[in-house]
């Protein structure tokens, strides 16, 4: 199936730990994104990569580090996790030349920091 897939779907971890979330898309898109959805369902962009190059970096703590090994993958590494990092993280992708088509979203990773 063509899709944006994220792993893991659920992640429960203790404060202070380091964790990673992986995202892969097989749609042939050249742009990928990370969004954070808080407990009030508000969606905010964190990062965007185009062809492995960082193009959007919103005001995000530097404990968050995205990595794009190729244009089909965008991973999110979080150091020294804090309670406030608990949220659902969504990966998405789009094609630059056809951005008006919209994003394709993954199903999300629910991160709970205890």
């Amino acid at each position: 199936d063509t899709a944006v897939s994220q792993t893991p779907k659920y992640l429960v971890t203790q404060m202070g730990n380091d964790k990673s979330i992986k995202c892969e898309q097989n749609l042939g898109h050249d742009t990928m994104y990370w969004y954070k959805q808080d407990s009030k369902k508000f969606l905010k962009i964190m990062f965007s990569y185009n062809n492995k190059e960082l193009i959007i970096n919103e005001t995000v703590p530097n404990r968050f580090s995205p990595k794009s090994p190729d244009k089909a993958h965008l991973n999110l590494h979080i150091n020294s996790l804090e309670l406030g990092d608990s949220a659902v993280y969504f990966c998405a992708s789009s094609q630059e030349a056809a951005f008006s088509v919209g994003y394709t979203f993954g199903s999300g990773t629910r991160l709970t920091v205890v």
């Binding site: 508000f42 969606l43 185009n50 193009i55 951005f99 008006s100 919209g102």
Partner: protein
């Protein structure tokens, strides 16, 4: 910078009733407008979009939206809702030429029998 306001955090309706979910945006340039739906514990799915041309756009599942430039609005409507339409609905805007979607705070549509 663009922003989106969804005035209603929750809209309760009875099955088969019509519904309108409101969305207003602000931007100094031309925009693309989108509505996404999020079913419980799932990702976001594109319902419909406005790029240019006809101001009335039709989407999936019987939804439609009307772009009103003078009122900077893009309200979502459905003439008759089903229980299965219960979900969170997000309006989003992107300034043309930029690949960044800015979302509203969402409206929870609750359809009851």
């Amino acid at each position: 910078a663009q922003s989106v306001t969804q005035l209603d955090s929750q809209v309760p309706v009875f099955e088969e009733a019509p519904v309108e979910l409101r969305c207003n945006y602000s931007s100094s340039v031309s925009v693309y407008l989108f509505w996404y739906v999020q079913y419980p514990n799932q990702g976001l799915q594109l319902l419909l979009k406005y790029l240019s041309g006809s101001t009335l756009v039709k989407g999936i599942n019987g939804f439609e939206a009307e772009f009103n430039k003078s009122q900077t609005s893009f309200h979502l409507r459905k003439p008759s809702v089903h229980i299965s339409d219960t979900a969170e609905y997000f309006c989003a805007v992107s300034e043309q030429g930029f690949q960044k979607l800015v979302f509203g705070t969402g409206t929870r549509l609750l359809v009851s029998p």
